[in-house]
């Protein structure tokens, strides 16, 4: 008789799960914060309140989910290994959680010790994570397109983190900042580099795999990430050494924006052309995310031709909302509805030693109706957030309430999946294996 296959020497589910369950708490916190602070938070992109809100989302929600995904789903799905995954996960999760809270607290209160705490924890946590990734990727035999794009995304994270740490250092030590456009570079590398490139890398695998589309065209997967990364590098060098927007810098920005537009349109086309079209919540999240990305890129390109658009104080808020809440948040929200059930199934299957048993149907973990309801909530909150960018007095608190409730519902759905997993895990532990036939 053949023995059952061992699926994995995978770290326990708790390792990535801690990232996926903590992250929505940050989204809820961001919503509550906006609810309390109200329209004043949206006066400009530089209010301390908005800085706090942004980092609760980028570090707390997006950062934790992306790190959790890199630690587990990429090894399973794309053959990318992280070195010492269990230790790195526990360490970096704890530090980045504390760091995100203290950074936002620092922005809100101005207290220097909070910036110092953020500096120490974020610095250490991100350093540990990046080192672990580098060691893993260096030792990996794989060289698929996802891995190549992941490398560029991680480089972008390194640059973003370094710029952020430099700025934090100046807050923490109360010294004069370097005469460099650090903030603009930090935003550019963080959004256009780290978040954007990582989504692209993961999309190459999870869109065909979980959304049943054809694979991305080879010419796109070969060139898109390197083109974007090179364009950002060019813009950064021009910003640092030439202190202004030269024609070349604008050309490179156009190139990056067009690249993202191409990615958005290609992905939408792949989804539209599926043989078996299913209107699941996760698919709707992808549609929303890609439409937001395309709108964001199109608006950005339009603003390069129409300077009046750029002068409006709402403009950076709209671009930021479309990219963060529309694109990045929707993508990660939707992916969680596929990743968490898949990982739960995978871990349960690996524990089964009795041939007559099977892991539960994957649809049991998160009922489609609940996911769909949460999508509706998220869509509403995005529309309200965009409206709040234009008419903050009327829409800010409504948007904040919708966003808080939607994020809370996401957390509830994820906790439900964990309950299903625990139930089956207990049942497996209690049942004796079937007797082996002679």
């Amino acid at each position: 008789m053949q023995r059952m296959l061992s699926l994995e020497q995978t770290p326990p589910l708790g390792v990535p799960l801690r990232f996926f369950l903590t992250a929505p708490l940050f989204a809820v916190a961001a919503g509550l914060l906006l609810l309390v602070l109200g329209p004043d938070a949206l006066l400009s992109r530089w209010t301390p309140a908005l800085l706090a809100l942004t980092h609760l989302l980028t570090l707390g929600f997006l950062g934790l989910i992306m790190l959790g995904a890199l630690m587990q789903i990429l090894p399973v799905v794309a053959g990318v290994e992280i070195a010492y995954p269990e230790v790195t996960a526990r360490f970096s999760h704890a530090l980045i959680t504390i760091g995100a809270v203290s950074l936002s607290g620092g922005f809100l209160s101005g207290e220097r010790w909070l910036f110092q705490l953020a500096l120490a924890t974020l610095g250490l946590g991100l350093f540990a994570f990046l080192t672990s990734c580098w060691l893993g990727i260096r030792g990996s035999e794989s060289n698929n397109v996802t891995l190549r794009a992941v490398r560029l995304a991680l480089l972008s994270l390194l640059i973003t983190a370094a710029l952020g740490i430099a700025m934090l250092f100046s807050y923490a030590a109360n010294i004069q900042r370097l005469p460099l456009p650090l903030t603009d570079l930090h935003v550019m590398w963080g959004l256009g580099g780290w978040i954007g490139l990582l989504v692209i890398a993961v999309a190459y695998q999870v869109v065909p795999m979980f959304q049943m589309t054809a694979v991305y065209p080879a010419v796109l997967t070969r060139w898109l990430a390197p083109v974007i990364f090179s364009a950002l590098t060019g813009v950064a060098l021009l910003m640092i050494f030439f202190d202004g927007v030269y024609p070349l810098s604008t050309v490179l920005q156009v190139l990056a924006a067009i690249a993202y537009l191409v990615f958005g349109i290609t992905s939408l086309t792949l989804l539209y052309r599926r043989k078996r079209a299913q209107r699941e919540a996760s698919t709707l999240f992808w549609y929303l995310a890609l439409a937001s990305l395309a709108a964001c890129a199109a608006l950005y390109l339009a603003s390069l031709a129409l300077p009046a658009m750029r002068q409006s104080p709402s403009f950076p808020l709209i671009i930021g909302t479309l990219f963060l809440a529309g694109f990045a948040f929707s993508v990660t929200n939707g992916m969680l509805y596929k990743i968490l059930p898949f990982l739960s199934w995978y871990h349960l299957q690996s524990r089964i030693t009795d041939r007559s048993r099977k892991a539960p149907n994957i649809k049991q973990f998160i009922p489609e109706g609940l996911a769909r309801r949460q999508f509706d909530g998220h869509l509403l909150s995005l529309v309200l957030l965009l409206a709040a960018c234009l008419w903050p007095e009327i829409f800010t608190r409504l948007a904040a309430l919708a966003f808080t409730l939607s994020s809370a519902l996401l957390l509830k759905n994820l906790l439900g999946a964990v309950q299903v997993y625990r139930r089956h895990e207990t049942a497996l532990a209690e049942t004796k294996p079937a007797p082996v036939p002679d």
Binding site: Q2, E8, V77, G79, M212, F342, Y346, K358
Partner: protein
């Protein structure tokens, strides 16, 4: 040598392709081959095969489907 087992898992949602391949591997006789036709490169499967001492080859067909040939490592 027994005839190979051939399965087609195109168009199925995860984890069904993986489940069907695992079930087919259970039925494999010594020296027998399993040929899997699938519409994307099944990287999670390759990890499992390597870990459980199976040899495999993966080929991209002209119709953009993948053909994976699996046999037990002797």
């Amino acid at each position: 040598m027994p005839d190979p087992i051939a399965i087609n898992v195109c168009g199925l949602q995860p984890p069904e392709p993986l489940e069907l391949v695992l079930e087919a591997l259970d039925r494999l006789q010594p020296g027998q081959q399993l040929i899997v036709t699938i519409d994307r490169e099944p990287l999670p499967l390759f990890r499992i095969l390597k870990q459980n001492n199976y040899d495999y080859t993966s080929q991209l067909r002209p119709d953009y489907l993948y053909e994976i040939c699996i046999r037990q490592n002797d």
